[in-house]
């Protein structure tokens, strides 16, 4: 159904917003127009810095003090939100328009009980007295499916889990049955399984409430699942808009196409597929661009694109793209070639052997076991993917292996030498390195790139003398595709992708044998992620290095890994060849993780739900650690007995009381359609 056929709840017209910084106006939104129909969910996607949060906040008229609306209107019904009187506005907010944000932990007042925080909405917008309002709050908590709502209303926010906190936010937002609900990255920062639950909740609430929704997200998968129509923002401009199905199936702006192509999709493998990165990087905020904002990175850009800004070209009813040459977009060839050699990264011999590793924090009597008895092996030239939600102990395990933490028990053997203690010789340090999650943090901001790399060459490769170091440095920089001009800058002058290249170069300075990659791309934008993943894969193939690759993104892990290990509450619950782990039969927890992935394919299947919340590692459940949340819970045996390791025919091992044949049968029932790799768009 197109917008014109139904009533428009919100209409944004030519919105242009700038931020004042040191006397300069930096434009973040340029002539953005779109509308949301009554009861419609409109997704707004884009990378960080594209202006999507500014759009969301403009809708609520809650822009920072230094924001200047240069032109445009935000029509809510017949009135302009941007010029409405303060009284009108506070009458609308919380009543007819409501918002749910990222990071629910800080969005709730820490010193007021959550019930009262919900009740406030009823008291001020519905004129209820305290006790009626509280009763209504309890009722609303039932609607958002919180168990024991009459107890939860008396809790303070910090007593609730992230998922519960976000449910409270939804209860508060929907309490007055608003006309417009703005969701600003409502699941970002939550664990995959929690995210899936919250998204399920939103879908269910949409059947009970008929609010129009603006869903702001950087995650294309989520938006395609949740929204009917989608707008793509790039550098403050809406560059494409259309029905979600059309837009994702046949994007007509080069950026949308590139964005879809550069994401590793479920089922892609490094030895078959190569990711297609977007060249260049986002233009800096506020820079004045005469023509198309994407021209610098666009493979089909011509002189005209740099001279005049393209208008929205209509493609189909309700579908348009800001591109002069949108008809050529479907024919843009894939930029990168598939990998030349069919990778010969077959593991021969064990490089790293971790034996019953334990890492406990805290003092006796009050200990938290972050890692509770882990055995893993990594072969030479092998990539082991490590998957698990926050608090599963992945990072502690990695830090023990590289020697940043001292294990509390167990042994680590590296190339037949004992490296259990964090005190190790130069040789062990050289050969065991790490790439960190956040490149902003991992590079010393007061050193130049050259200093950072020189120090690593000196200490890891043992190269002395400035000339020799400089010679090697050029090779090192070239190997990660850094240009010489990047060497004499401080990290703050580099983009996120370039910083991560420096960090990778640093860890490769001493030709390591094993590199631990701790979420190396999760702080980067998707368009940059592909280039970094390609680089890591290239380096691994060329240098024959092994990786332990930690990520919460299963598609990424699947793409780079030969084998995958799944961690839950400090233990490995599932391990084996990548294909085997991702295919049934697998541990019920792996099953839950996989079913939590939002995909671009239309039409969902029944999602596997986990019960409750992640138990505290200081007091892990008895028997099988997963039994409190397991959807395939058997009964007393799971509560009382530690599950045995089970082996499947395809080389996977998992810890569960259910034998492989039985598990395969159960999981086949739940998932009638086998997972096929998504067709490339």
């Amino acid at each position: 159904m197109s917008v014109t056929e139904r009533q428009q709840a919100v209409r944004i017209e030519g919105l242009t917003v700038a931020y004042r910084r040191r006397g300069q106006l930096l434009r973040v939104l340029d002539d953005v127009s779109f509308s949301i129909g009554a009861g419609e969910a409109y997704g707004l996607v884009g990378e960080s810095g594209c202006g999507k949060t500014t759009v969301a906040m403009s809708l609520m008229r809650y822009l920072p003090d230094n924001a200047v609306v240069e032109s445009g209107r935000v029509m809510f019904g017949d009135e302009d939100v941007l010029t409405a009187s303060a009284t009108t506005l506070s009458g609308w907010r919380g009543d007819r328009m409501a918002m749910v944000y990222q990071d629910p932990g800080t969005a709730l007042n820490p010193s007021i009980k959550v019930g009262e925080q919900i009740a406030e909405v009823y008291r001020f917008h519905k004129g209820m007295n305290r006790s009626d309002a509280l009763a209504a709050a309890v009722h609303m908590l039932e609607t958002v499916q919180i168990s024991a709502p009459d107890r939860v209303v008396r809790r303070y926010p910090h007593e609730l889990s992230g998922g519960q906190q976000q449910r409270i936010m939804f209860a508060m937002a929907l309490a007055t049955d608003p006309d417009l609900l703005v969701l600003d990255e409502p699941t970002t920062g939550l664990d995959a399984t929690v995210e899936a639950e919250v998204l399920d909740l939103v879908e269910q609430l949409r059947t009970q409430f008929d609010a129009s929704i603006l869903f702001v997200s950087h995650n294309l998968g989520i938006v395609s699942r949740m929204c009917e129509r989608v707008g793509v923002l790039y550098a403050g401009r809406l560059i494409e808009e259309g029905p979600a199905i059309d837009l994702f199936r046949e994007p007509r702006h080069p950026y949308t196409l590139a964005l879809l192509r550069c994401m590793p999709r479920m089922g892609m493998r490094k030895d078959v597929d190569r990711l297609d990165p977007i060249p260049g990087s986002l233009p800096p905020i506020g820079v004045d661009i005469a023509g198309c904002v994407y021209a610098d990175r666009c493979p089909i850009a011509r002189d005209r694109c740099r001279a005049e800004p393209p208008p929205i070209e209509p493609i189909a009813p309700g579908h348009g793209a800001r591109c002069f040459y949108h008809e050529e977009v479907p024919g843009i060839p894939v930029l990168t070639r598939p990998p030349d050699e069919a990778a010969a990264a077959t593991a021969d011999g064990v490089l790293l052997k971790v034996d019953d590793l334990v890492k406990a924090y805290g003092s006796a009597g009050n200990q938290v076991f972050a890692v509770a008895g882990v055995d893993i092996e990594v072969g030479r030239g092998e990539v082991l993917g490590l998957v698990g939600e926050s608090g599963s102990g992945k990072t502690s395990l990695a830090k023990c292996i590289v020697g940043l933490l001292d294990p509390s028990g167990g042994a680590i053997e590296f190339d037949a030498a004992d490296v259990t203690s964090h005190r190790r010789g130069r040789e062990a340090r050289r050969r065991l390195q790490m790439v960190f999650q956040n490149p902003d943090n991992a590079l010393n901001p007061s050193h130049s790139v050259r200093t950072i790399l020189r120090r690593s060459l000196q200490l890891l490769a043992g190269v002395r003398g400035k000339d020799r170091q400089d010679a090697l440095m050029d090779d090192l920089a070239r190997s990660v595709r850094l240009e010489p001009r990047h060497l004499d800058v401080r990290p703050s002058a580099l983009s996120g992708g370039l910083k991560q290249r420096v960090a990778i170069a640093r860890s490769f300075a001493g030709s390591p044998s094993l590199v631990l990659c701790d979420e190396p791309t999760s702080a980067l934008d998707v368009s940059v992620q592909a280039a970094i993943l390609n680089l890591l894969v290239d380096l691994q193939r060329r240098e024959g290095v092994s990786y332990v690759f930690i990520s919460h993104d299963l598609a990424v892990v699947r793409y780079v890994s030969d084998r995958i290990a799944v961690m839950y509450l400090g233990q490995i619950v599932d391990v084996g060849p990548a294909d085997a782990v991702f295919e049934a039969p697998h541990h019920p927890y792996t099953e839950a993780l996989l079913s939590a992935i939002p995909t671009l394919e239309p039409g969902g299947k029944a999602r596997m739900k986990l019960h409750g919340t992640l138990p505290s590692p200081s007091d892990p459940p008895s028997g099988c650690r997963f039994h409190t949340r397991c959807p395939r819970f058997l009964g007393d045996v799971c509560v009382n007995e530690e599950p045995p390791w089970q082996s499947t025919t395809d080389g996977e091992r998992y810890r569960c009381h259910i034998p492989p044949e039985e598990l395969a049968r159960l999981q086949a029932e739940a998932e009638p359609t086998a997972r096929e790799p998504d067709p490339a768009p």
């Binding site: 010393n444 890891l460 240009e483 002058a493 992708g497 960090a503």
Partner: protein, 301 residues
């Protein structure tokens, strides 16, 4: 500057030279922004003006005013006049000359004491913040215990035993400042040490002292600088108070605190003996605090 994330595979870097210039410009621009922020900060400018006035007085009083020790026996306790702008004291010394010259002792003692505290505090803060563990626990308890004493009482205790000299005042204030500055440095170090560049340095085998000095220290200069200016204000405050209590600088120094203490006896008949040194002291400490605040704001931005 345009950063290219997937450069051409051929490895040609045509625009290298242009980028070099860009980079240098960028760095200069950042420094220029800080100065611009300071230049537009009225707080900072007013504070700086006051501070410069007193620094000039402290350095050049010999050439600027008559001798602060010259005794005019004919005019003791003379009220302000064209000859003696600020009047004379009980010995017939010119109060104006003494006020201008009085900047010298305070601007010697306070900066030296601050430097001493800064050196000790930065070292202690780096060590306790970086190593944590039992050193840190002991340190925290000592600071708690120290804070239970009002600082003036601590100085009184120490100066009464060490003897009253400018050197001892510097020592006492510097030593008392050490744990206080260390606390600020420590909390900055605690934040930095959790950042991954420190882990990366450890991974490549850097030793503790080098990590503290070469990796962490350059990144915490801003809070240290702000702390130093704030402490300078306190040092002036403390040095003047000790002089007033008779525990610091002694006669015949033109020190302001001392002058006020001496003038107390003549309050009823010669208000100018106390009011002008008091005003001088007030402007100096307020000036230093304004500079500190302007600096803090500019850095935080």
């Amino acid at each position: 500057m345009s950063a290219v994330d997937e450069p051409s595979v051929a490895g040609e870097f045509p625009d290298g030279a242009a980028a070099q210039v860009d980079v240098r410009r960028l760095r200069r621009q950042r420094r220029a922004e800080l100065f611009a922020a300071l230049r537009t900060s009225k707080t900072f400018l007013v504070g700086m003006l006051i501070l410069i006035f007193w620094v000039v007085s402290a350095l050049g009083w010999r050439w600027l005013v008559r001798s602060p020790q010259a005794v005019d026996t004919a005019a003791t306790l003379a009220s302000p006049s064209a000859d003696h702008w600020f009047g004379t004291d009980n010995l017939g010394r010119d109060v104006f000359a003494r006020v201008i010259a009085g900047a010298a002792p305070v601007l010697t003692v306070a900066p030296l004491a601050t430097l001493l505290g800064l050196a000790g505090g930065t070292t202690l803060g780096l060590v306790t913040g970086y190593y944590r563990g039992w050193i840190d626990d002991i340190f925290s308890r000592i600071v708690d215990a120290l804070l239970a004493f009002p600082l003036i009482i601590l100085s009184v205790l120490v100066l009464a035993s060490l003897g009253r000299s400018p050197r001892n005042v510097i020592l006492v204030i510097g030593i008392i400042f050490t744990p206080l500055i260390a606390r600020t440095v420590r909390s900055a170090v605690l934040v930095e040490r959790e950042r991954e560049y420190v882990a990366a340095a450890r991974l490549r085998g850097e030793r503790g002292p080098r990590i503290m000095v070469a990796e962490i220290l350059p990144n915490i200069t801003a809070p240290i600088l702000v702390e130093a200016t704030i402490r300078l204000g306190y040092a002036i405050f403390a040095a003047a108070t000790l002089a007033f209590l008779g525990l610091g600088i002694q006669d015949p120094s033109p020190d302001w605190g001392l002058a006020i203490a001496n003038g107390r006896a003549y309050l009823q008949i010669a208000w100018w003996m106390v009011l002008f040194p008091a005003a001088a002291l007030a402007t100096l400490v307020v000036g230093v605090n304004l500079v500190a605040d302007g600096l803090r704001r500019a850095i935080e931005e």
